[in-house]
Amino acid sequence: MGGGDDNKRESKLQAVLLADSFLNTFQPITLDKVTPKVLCPLNNVALLDYGIEFLAGAGVEELFVFCATSGDTVEEYVQKSNWTSSINVKCVKDSSVTNAGDALRYLDKLNVIRSDSQADPFILMTGDVITNVDIVPAIEEHKRRYKKDNTAIMTVLMKEVGGWGVEEDQNGEIISHSSSIRSVSDDLFIALNTASPAGNRILSYDSNPGNTSSTKIPTSFFAANAQIELRNDLLDTGIYICSPDVLARFSDEFDFLEISKFISNIVAEEEEGLQNKIFASILKSNEYAARIHDLRTYHAVSRDLLKRWCYPIVPDNQPTGYDKIYRYEMQRHMMYVEQKGKEKLGRCTSLKGPGMIGSFSKVGNETSIHGTVIGNSCLIGDGVSITDAHIWDNVTIEDGATICEAVLCNDCVIKKGAVIPKGCVIGRGCVIDENIELPEFSRITIFEDKDDDDDFSDFGDDSSSSSDSSSDGSNSESSDDSIEENKKKVLPVLKSGILGVNGKGRLWKANYEDFEVFDEDSDVDSDDEEDVEKRTKLIIEAQSIGFDPTSVFSQRKQSQLEEDGFSDDEADDNKSEDDSEGGFKDDWNLDEDGTLITGRQEGVNVIEDLKNICLEHEVTTPIENLRIELNSYKFSQNASFGDCVTGAMLAIFERLDLKAGTGAAGLVTSFKAELKHWGELFEKLCHTVDEEKSLIKAIETAAISGGVVGDVLSKEPSFRLVLQTLHTEDIISDEAVLAWAASASEADDENPRKKLFTQQQTQDFIEWVEEDSDDDSDDDSSSSGSESDGDSD
């Protein structure tokens, strides 16, 4: 490695491989317990083997493979494998982990990454990376940097792949271009300081796809960095060189779920003294690295390997362990053919690459196979046409079938004349009956959706239906379930639906809760189930082979352009902009008098938020908890106690669960019941008359804002009774009632406030309060009472 310097102190290079991508993109293939994503074959080699081979080549001596799901399967696989001799591979299993952040925190707890010599970094890598990068120089640079500045804790390896764009070609057709190894949802913006001698420091890492139209850089960064380069042509390869501090940083902050979030948060720190620095190391143009994010990138990477872009990782140079069993040879048209168990080819069969054929596979007569990877021991009949597909082991394809841009997993059977169009995935052991034509982008499986819930059986009876079960879909399957048990869960699904009479399997439907919707209008309430389903379907399609991303890109570009317009509308006053949205609420930081409130987050509706906090409160817990919560929110947004009581009062009315027919008596009864619990809160929050006034104002707002609550409240004598209740409970004072009366009497006659005020019952109550307070204070305020009486008409 680095020449003669300090060789003695140099300890073993360690690495962490995350054997889980914590994504659902490979479902339903990964639904069975035996093929987690890392064990899926890519060009007839398991993904895990590529990763371990790379790390062994990089000089890693101790490797921790972290498994969340299917830990046992992976461990078993690792133990059986041969490279265990050259590199010490240990499996770390924790099935409760659902994200990369937790995995790293778990590793930190185990204390296996030695922290005695902080200067020695370790490699962190996700299990789905295929690369031939020479990582040694990057490690050396990281060490050098760390020695000078121990806040430089991480180096991210990035590959320049070009951004995406949408254009119109000469014929007026809209075409998009984007690297095939970039997943459709990826829209990563990175700001780098390219002028610094220390290296390309990352100053902003914005991986938020689609739904925000601009990326931001704190202006203070410009004072410390002479030039900042913003790029969106880079791909995060999923290979990170980390100092041991990184694990500690993860443990510090439980919000770091994904590594990308960690990076974006760390680099966004503006306070110079608290900054940790993350650098980017950009791959040389002859180096290859790509993440297999979904099946679309799976196909692209497979292609790249076959075309030898990632030399020496090519099919005719099998990784350790495979090299003894298989020997591939490249033939015409970049077709790699296994030589030890050589395939039997029928007559008049055309093979065109790039593609490969595994050992002991048979191909019948007059069959055409283009750009397809075929696994071991496959049987392919006569007159079959296969294009751009991935066929794993033991697959049987009968005569006359047509397959295009699909993935056929182990042991599945395609019967005579069936058509598998683009984007399809046929899961393990599925059978597609004769002459069946599947719709595009259908994914077939025989396995149940994962479910951690014990009440799984509720859905079990209903297993033949393809309804999405209530699974939470997370990959946190308890590893105690042995494979045997899982097989029991596999119910023989016979459905004469789309798979035909003798078909086996069911159409897998994505559970849309698992998929963050990257669509532009995700802020629209996703209650519309049909809409959500459609969007989920689009996401799944975008992750499939053969998807044309043009529409997604042009839509995203359009939405970004539209948003762009708002940012510079000051310059846009040339044309009729007067009819711009008048209803837009921009008074979030003004109080009632229109005074500016400082220190409030943009666009926050304080009352609404406070109300929601109160609504979430559970009556079984002490009200003191709620008070503390309200109080802290009040501080964070510079709100007032008045805002708090307003929110609480509105929440109470909402909680009463009023119905249209509820009368005044019913209202007051339930209101009183609620007050038993809430009274204490109001007592504590109402420090002065101002809060009491806000309280009455809140009732008034509820009464005039319509809806069921408004209807019930505005009906005589509800309003009066509510006021009276509060008054008797000593929550509101005479003074507050009279102040409200005075302000309400000044309103226009048409104002709904005035109507509330002029209700006979309300008048009576006010009169009574006046007298009451006269008695109390025993002074000459009677004149004011008569005034308000006189004014009211």
Binding site: G162, F222, S567
Partner: protein
């Protein structure tokens, strides 16, 4: 009117409020805002001294600028002056211009060698900004419809490549070579011409190009220096309001130099303004829509300085005419172009998203757009538009959503060439320009001495120094002819104008003295600018002072940081 490719427009209608008091002798302080491009109409006193007439090494700024324009072969230059400016004309006559034609009472045609200069007085009461001035110029029909327009501020100092690094290489071929390579203006014209042609080919038309100078400096760790630190080191320092965030995407071209496309231009003050009073730290928001292929990389800097030298394509001027509300080129129109380039031509004319019938006020816009489309050869769209263009209450039938993005390109001066490319719009920048000219003159004269060509004269031409100027390399000063210095006078880093007399035992450091100034004996002057015709008594001590024209300073005055 004969066709010219580029028409120069020098906007010299402002007097320079930030150069107060040396540009103004009225006692009432100039009322104009800090905006340098806004006119002051109350500066009508007889001692009005517009900033483009401030002397730089003995000659008014505008003379230097006109020489430049002539140097790059510009045939037609329009000089725009304010209604009450009566000095510029005589100043141009001094330069050697001859009036050949009086077009109307406010416009004169002058001959300056082969270059025609149109001196145009803005109508009285015209108080708008540079965009309005431009609209006046266009309204006068002085610019032929197919000519590109290069807009220059009157206070521009542009000696970009004067002392080129290849001085030694020049020795063999004489100095003419460096003169060819001189001009930032010339290179801007080249870039503009090239990008305009490319734009037509690719269907992404060029709206304008502009010059950026690089005024950044870093310490040894690559950390940029603050403006104040730069000022201390004697560099150009800018005021906060001049600093902008500028983002450039460099797009590689197959057979020609890369295109520098400006895709972000936001004044620092705007970005950092906390509009909503949230108290959060300011952030620069970059619309993602601007970063799509092929612009995947954008370099953002705050150290590029916009010299306000704009080169507009003909169609962009039509756009300027349509956008009547815009007052200022640099603050409104250019940012508008930068932000709208992704939306496209149609939407910039305000028609992109319009549906249905077109109102009367849109008629102009539609016509301008059609002309634009013709010019840009966006044929198909043009046909579609003109077909719908019959009758007054026509339907603006815009079913084809596609718009035509355009581009704004930049010519970036290297850091070395940026040294003497600036606008002398503030006192500090004016003082800096004077100092830097001295340094350049010394370097030039040395180069000339070494190569033993006839003494200096030729190179002075490129600096446009008056003849017989004394260059004192040791004391880093230049002294113009007809000045008398008393005994034991020490002059350092200073410019001394014509007909100046300085009494004995005076010490001058970093002082700019305009013509016909009299200084008494035993004065100590530092970092001071003294305007024409001032009289300073004996034993004065002035530090950091500015003197308005014809000020008299009594004997024995001691003062620091004051304006007289």
């Amino acid at each position: 009117m004969s066709e010219v490719e580029f028409t120069g427009v020098i906007l010299a209608s402002t007097c320079g409020a930030r150069l107060f008091p040396i540009t103004n002798n009225t006692k009432s302080k100039a009322t104009d805002a800090l905006d340098v491009d806004v006119e002051t109409s109350d500066a009508a006193s007889d001692e009005f001294m517009p900033k483009h007439l401030l002397p730089l090494a003995g000659r008014p700024l505008i003379h230097h600028l006109l020489q430049h324009c002539r140097g790059i072969g510009m045939e037609k230059i329009i000089v725009v002056i304010s209604a009450d400016d009566d000095k510029t004309k005589s100043s141009l006559m001094q330069l050697g211009c001859k009036i050949s034609n009086e077009i109307d009472e406010s416009t004169f045609e002058l001959d300056f060698g082969l270059t025609r200069i149109y001196l145009m007085r803005l109508p009285a009461g015209e108080t708008g900004g540079s965009a309005e001035a431009m609209r006046c110029v266009i309204g006068k029909n002085l610019i032929s419809p197919k000519s590109h327009v290069m807009v220059l501020p009157g206070d521009l100092v542009l000696y970009g490549q004067l002392v080129s690094s290849d001085n030694k290489a020049d020795e063999a071929s004489g100095t003419s070579n460096s003169k060819l390579a001189v001009d930032a203006l010339g290179s801007l014209a080249d870039v503009h011409r090239r990008e305009y042609r490319h734009g037509l080919e690719k269907g992404v038309p060029l709206a304008m190009s502009l010059i950026l100078s690089d005024v950044g400096e870093e310490d040894e760790n690559g950390v940029p220096l603050k403006e104040s630190a730069k000022a201390k080191k004697g560099g150009i320092s800018r005021e906060e309001q001049e600093i902008e965030f500028i983002g450039i995407a460099t797009i590689k071209n197959d057979h020609s130099p890369p295109t520098n496309r400006i895709i972000l231009k936001e004044p620092k003050l705007n970005v950092e303004e906390d509009v909503h009073n949230t108290g959060s730290t300011p952030k620069l928001y970059i619309p993602k829509a601007r970063m799509h292929s092929p612009m995947n990389q954008m370099l953002i800097k705050t150290t590029w300085s916009d010299l306000h030298v704009f080169c507009f394509s003909p169609w962009a001027l039509k756009l300027l005419l349509v956008n009547k509300k815009m007052k200022d080129l640099g603050k409104e129109f250019v940012p508008f172009l930068v932000s709208r380039q992704f939306r496209g031509v149609k939407s910039s004319f305000g028609l992109g998203s319009k549906k249905g019938s077109v109102t009367d006020e849109d008629t102009d816009a539609v016509e301008a757009l059609i002309e634009t489309m013709n010019e840009l050869k966006l044929d198909e769209a043009c046909r579609r538009l003109s077909m719908t263009d019959h009758g007054i209450d026509r339907e603006f039938d815009d079913d084809d959503k596609e718009d035509y993005p355009f581009l704004v390109s930049a010519q970036i001066l290297s850091r070395k060439h940026s040294k003497l490319s600036l606008r002398s719009s503030t006192l500090t920048s004016y003082a800096y320009a004077c100092r830097e000219v001295i340094t350049n003159a010394i370097a030039a004269s040395k180069a000339v001495d070494e190569s033993k060509i006839k003494k200096g004269k030729r190179d002075f031409c490129s600096l446009y120094l008056p003849e017989n100027t004394q260059i004192d390399a040791k004391n880093n000063s230049i002294i113009l002819p007809e000045s008398t210095l008393g005994e034991k006078v020490v002059v350092k880093s200073s410019t001394i104008g014509k007909g100046v007399s300085i009494g004995g035992r005076c010490r001058l450091n970093n002082v700019i003295i305009h013509d016909n100034v009299q200084i008494g004996e035993n004065c100590v002057l530092q970092n001071t600018t003294i305007s024409e015709g001032c009289i300073i008594g004996d034993n004065c001590n002035l530090n950091n002072c500015q003197l308005r024209t014809k000020t008299s300073i009594p004997t024995g005055t001691k003062s620091k940081g004051e304006s007289f």
